[in-house]
Amino acid sequence: MKTTRILTMAQAISEGIAQEMTRDAKVFVMGEDIGSYGGIFGATGGLLDKFGKDRIMDTPISETAFIGAATGAAAAGLRPIVELMFVDFFGVCMDQIYNHLAKNTYMSGGHVKLPVVLTTAIGGGYSDAAQHSQCLYGTFAHMPGIKVVVPSNAYDAKGLMISAIRDDNPVMFMYHKGIMGLPWMAYLEGSSNAVPEEAYAIPFGKAKVLQEGSDITIVSISQMVQKAVLAARELATQSIHAEVIDLRTLVPLDTETVLKSVRKTGRLLVVDEDYLGFGLSGEIAALIAENLDTVELHAPVIRLAVPNVPIPYSRPLEQFVIPQVANIVQAVQAAMLKKTAAAAHA
């Protein structure tokens, strides 16, 4: 009997973790304030009561030590879940993340198995300023050795979390604060959705086409997916039919779904809350540029992302640099009017 309820993404994540912890005694959680506090963003809510302090371990503020310890414990056969409270803090522990957790499998010729899930909060929009509002998934996707999972809704989050825990490789699981459904932060409600009670796994590397459309492809991830869906709804009233793709994971990256869609629509808008330059939006645009032998574009690719500035604190500034639904609508409208030079010739 399959039962579903509407859950918030935070609830879905902690439920996924709890089910895997019940199934597999090797799974445990470490991090700051993940015990009695339940995780600052609720990702480990209720777990301490269920599993006790030997499996739900609050740590000192020593990210290098405890994330490195996750690597060591995983190499020794356990399956740690370890939380970096905000992705913005990665700089204090990046060496353990990318020189060890991400590389030891490769450097050992595949002999060292590191089943670690590194959870972390991303995203802005609530005036937490430059050190607490970034996405940075582009940074992690750039460096090989860690899978990068970035869910946009509760259903996906649970299924992807279960896959992450069962994966024998390091997985970075990045949840956007503005879709966790926290009782203390406004959120995009599309992110709370029906979640089966039973455990289920969503495979990595499969993008989801959230809405089909023939005019333009909107590729996005995380909270921006929710904004893209709202924009697409608005565009539909203007008879512009956008296809909305949620990448769900960046490593592995589902290039086929994107290519297939852009071959159909001939237009691409990438919507991204990470920095514009040298990141996700560039990678997706490049994918099209590399495949122009099989993709025919009607309009140049458009990228919406944080315009290469740190996230400012003040609300009007922050709202200006983070892509909003209105920006997406406008960008699509602009794309519909633009023509590639080649198309103009033809």
Binding site: S36, S127, A129, A130, W184, P307, N308, N327
Partner: protein
Amino acid sequence: MQAGNEKLLWMYEKMVEIRYYEETLAAVYMEGKLPPNIQKGLAFDIGAGPVPGEMHLAAGQEPVAVGICAHLSDDDTVVGTHRPHHFAIAKGVPLDAMTAEIFGKVTGLGKGKGGHMHLFDNAHKFSCSGIVGASMPIACGAALAAKKLGTNWLAVAFFGEGAANQGSFHESMNLAAMWKLPVIFVCEDNQWAISVPKSKATSIEWVADRAASYGMPGIRVPENDTLQVYEAVAPAIARARRGQGPSLIEIKTDRYFGHFQGDAETYRAKGEVARLRQNDPIPKFAQLLKDKNFMTMQDESDIIFKTHQWVDRAFAFARQSGYPSAQDALKDVFVSDHSNARALT
């Protein structure tokens, strides 16, 4: 070192100012954040209201800030933490520009770009950071500059007891000791790092004892007492000014509010805060000043009146100031603009 009358009154004044500042902010912070003005279903909305985002208040921790800063001049550098207001006020950062920054206004210290965890004031050599443990390396740099410039200026790095388990603590202490930098490392032990008590995070009782690992003096201040702080740190200050290098000082203090505003504090024993507040250092200090005839009742009420007026005016200033214009978000990545910043299409 004995504090003169003026210094004592200054300390009292600053503590009153800090306390009233934090209490005012606590109230203002809630504006716009509660139902029915927020998204349905929420109990609170952190991003709403005139002061959005996280808010870490330092009520109860005033002795740390004023006891240390009473020894400093504008030439000395202070680097604070994510909980920075008490340090900023004690260091002389102007209330108007600071408050405007906290409101995200264009008249703010950082034109609204920084916010409450990112207050920068060159004139008073004050800065802070939202990253735990980040104050220490930066203070080392300020101290290095003081030394290279041939001055007797010094730098103070404030940090919480939670930060004392961050790698930056160790590296900075060693570097400062090795290079005999004029830094005072000040650990505010309020016993909590968000929900994690010191006893679960720090493997020894006193962070100050870690000074021995670097061959520098470690000073324990066992009470949240202004005069104790002031006097205990004096030798460290003198030592640094003499060019003899850094010291580490740890002060037991108390956090009256939650880690941030909106924190349900379920991890704290019921009544803990009420108990702590019985030891409030401000009335205690007032009593002392009055007992010793350093302060009259009139002085006291003057101080209260004037500091409250300053704070009220700063909040009024902040409220009346305008927001930066959205396009300004693209400026100031560099001091002269050659960044890759570009507007959304």
